[in-house]
Amino acid sequence: MNAAEIRTEILDILENIAPDEDLTDLKDEVAFREQLELDSMDFLDIVMELRKRHRVQIPEEDYEQLASMGSTVKYLEPILGAESA
């Protein structure tokens, strides 16, 4: 998956987790928490969804890398980029 595809996938996950949120103007460089009503359980679900959909295991010490869309895509590129499309 390339960066754009990863971004789309994260948006899809966010839509699944928080269907009432408006994601149209989501800013990549701003933390999710500052733009969306996401609590720690929702963050857990982002991690769980990635695991469920892509078999990606993210260790707890890396959770802070998922703070924003930009940092999340950057973190996942090497991991998901290795997946076949």
């Binding site: 359980m41 469920k52 295991q57 260790p59």
Partner: protein
């Protein structure tokens, strides 16, 4: 070998099951009864449907609200607001002998009622509301402070204090006489700052959604499968033995049976458990009327009544508590669909003495139910219009009924007074969920199941 075994198909067990099944864990819910729901269940009698437990769903907020316990559970379980079809309450009342305070899902009504009935407390009430709104659940500051003490610090009129304690304790206090201020905040918010609602079809709608979702995700539900024993090896649970002798193994066990009850399944007698089981249980009279209740003036959704200036909350020495209770009519919600006019239901619930109900012969039990139906309804009609001449059918359940169908010790409905919020036990992979871990009610129980499943069973960070 299942990933997780869940004991109990009540609200917390089903919710935990959904979270686990959704994330591809193999889950088996083991329920002793032939039906689901536990303390919040339903039954069918002589052609009619009734709810057990659910009087109203608390934490009601309008659709689109993104915060709060209801929004959280809908998100976590991947339900839409519409799925639970909650209709808001018409309006309820706190009824003491000389004063009534009405309230609905808009806090402004209670505000104005307090201003009218307790004018000198108006500003104090505003400050009190601000304090409740500002209470941070995660922070837990002041959690253990006595609510009676806080009320005495804030207010001067004892009657107002008693009237505010009454509905909150009736909703969710496992503890007699007083409760922790942190808990008071959470419960008060659930009822007054959020609100009350109910699906037209009652609790079965919610349960049906939960079960369907659970099964569709691959979860297994086994009814008539009571657990007789939890088997452990070297501080680690390995599985359970069912009442029929069958062994079922699992890597983790989540139990909604209650702390004392779960310890008993582990072979630990109740005396070894430092915190005792809850002892507050209920009776409920169910009266079916030949008219919608509001046609005869019974238009309140719920009436929390107390027949003296003092509100006390303790296990009665008599079979039932004649002095205080909750009168609820499931008809009095603002349902979308026009309900076919015709019948109505009024339920009166009061505290009851489990030991005394349990200790009777079958014949005495039958007679006392009849006698106490009459006494409790007579007590209730001091606070609502007298509906007795409209009654076409009746039913009644007691603490013994609750114990029989849920296995909860003492027929306790609020869980134990000393909660175990971390849900941990002496076994490294056995956890508690449900009332004994904190919150009660449908929303509380569902969130409890979700939290425990997330925390202990999903382990996302582990390799």
């Amino acid at each position: 070998m299942y990933d997780t075994l869940i004991i109990g198909a009540g609200m917390s067990g089903l919710a935990a099951g959904i979270r686990l099944a959704y994330y591809d864990k193999s889950v088996c819910i083991l329920e002793k009864h032939y039906s689901i729901g536990g303390l919040n269940s339903f039954y069918h009698l002589r052609g009619r449907d009734y709810d057990v437990g659910l009087h109203a769903v608390t934490n009601y907020v309008p659709p689109g609200t993104r915060r709060g316990p209801l929004a959280r559970l809908l998100k976590q379980l991947r339900f839409r607001w519409d799925d639970f079809a909650l209709a808001p309450q018409v309006g309820s009342r706190i009824a003491f002998p000389d004063v009534q305070l009405d309230f609905n899902n808009d806090i402004d009504l209670l505000r104005s009622e307090v201003a009218v009935n307790f004018p000198e407390e108006r500003d104090n009430f505003e400050r009190f509301l601000a304090r409740l709104i500002g209470y941070d659940e995660l922070d837990h500051q002041d959690f253990d402070v006595s609510t009676r003490q806080v009320l005495a610090d804030v207010f001067t009129d004892p009657l107002l204090m008693e009237m505010l304690l009454c509905p909150v304790m009736m909703y969710g206090s496992a503890r007699e006489n007083d409760l922790e201020f942190g808990l008071f905040c959470i419960l008060f918010r659930s009822i007054f700052l959020e609100g009350l609602g109910r699906p037209l079809a009652g609790v079965r709608l919610i349960l049906r959604h939960l079960v369907r979702r659970f099964r569709s995700l691959g979860g297994e539900l086994r009814l008539r499968s009571g657990v007789k024993q939890i088997c452990a090896d070297d501080g680690h649970a390995v599985g359970v033995v069912l009442d029929n002798g069958e062994e079922v193994s699992g890597r983790q066990i989540l139990s909604s049976a209650g702390r004392v009850e779960t310890m008993r399944l582990c072979g630990k007698p109740p005396t070894s458990v430092s915190a005792p089981a809850g002892k507050l249980s209920l009776v409920e009279t169910v009266s079916t009327l030949n008219t919608p209740p509001d046609q005869i003036g019974c238009d309140r959704t719920m009436v929390f009544y107390n027949d003296s200036k003092q509100f006390s909350w303790a296990c009665p020495s008599t079979l039932c508590d004649e002095h205080r209770g909750v009168i609820c009519s499931p008809n009095n919600f603002r349902y979308d669909r026009a309900v076919p006019e015709g019948e109505g239901v009024i339920r009166v619930s009061t505290l009851a003495n489990y030991d005394r109900w349990q200790g009777m012969s079958d014949e005495e039990y039958g007679l006392e139910k009849i006698r106490w139906y009459d006494r409790l309804v007579e007590s209730a009609v001091r606070f609502v219009p007298d509906f007795r001449s409209q009654v076409i059918d009746t039913d009644m359940f007691t603490p013994k009924t609750i114990r029989r169908f849920t296995c909860h010790e003492n027929g306790a409905v609020y869980g134990a007074p000393d909660k175990q919020p971390d849900g941990c036990t002496h076994l490294s992979n056995l956890f508690l969920c449900g009332a004994d871990t904190g919150l009660v009610g449908i929303v509380g129980a569902i969130n409890s199941g979700i939290t425990m499943a997330n925390r202990y069973c999903l382990n996302p960070g582990q390799k």
